[in-house]
Symmetry: C2
Subunit: 123 residues, 2 copies
């Protein structure tokens, strides 16, 4: 675990957003810890391989990185906003329904956020 990987891990763990590689790169720059974008990617892929961070891939957007505390994601169908949600022991309940050995899962709930709902009501 390199010094830079540590900084990056700290940034991800202390952010409540879901940051892109670029955002992390800029964040380091702001804090006068500038590194090359390639280093950000290197560190992210190391951290991901080690299971220390989660990678969220969304259609047509750059990947985002997230802490590993168990939670799921919701994406607003209208504006694309990404939010967190926590579902009680879904792995267990999925496991009950199947024979296969489930290692983990990746769930994205598609919904319409309050802001977009409000806009729709007005229209």
């Amino acid at each position: 675990m390199t010094k830079n990987a540590k900084y990056i891990l700290k940034i991800i763990n202390s952010s409540s957003d879901h940051l892109t590689a670029e955002q992390i790169y800029l964040c380091l720059k702001e804090r006068n810890k500038a590194v090359a974008l390639a280093t950000v990617y290197n560190s992210l892929s190391f951290l991901h391989k080690e299971g220390l961070i989660k990678k969220i891939s969304i259609e047509g957007c750059p990947d985002r990185y997230d802490n590993t505390k168990r939670h799921d994601h919701m994406i607003c169908k209208k504006c694309g906003k990404l939010s967190d949600i926590t579902l009680e022991n879904l792995t267990g309940r999925l496991q009950e329904q199947t024979d296969i050995y489930i290692i983990s899962y990746d769930l994205k709930i598609i919904y319409i956020c309050d802001d977009c709902l409000a806009k729709e009501d007005k229209a």
Copy 2:
């Protein structure tokens, strides 16, 4: 709905695989219905917008396209193989747990397929 979009929809609906844009392009060529790759992408994005096909995005692979009959996906952690699985009324059960209005969801179960399990046992 253009002629080409119809062909493409038929190909997707009658395939049990999850085809990439490229594979569809080649498939049309084989059937002497060759079109430009751009047309394949145009048609796919039309079909997707209309909700006639589903798009599966997997980390580091080109997008794949699938029919819309409700089912979920499993990805083998070792070999990346993508398979189908059907879970009973998961939308309903997710809905019970949340206040938000769920339009749909996208679930990928990460598991280890039988082939890879067998290989592991041998080793």
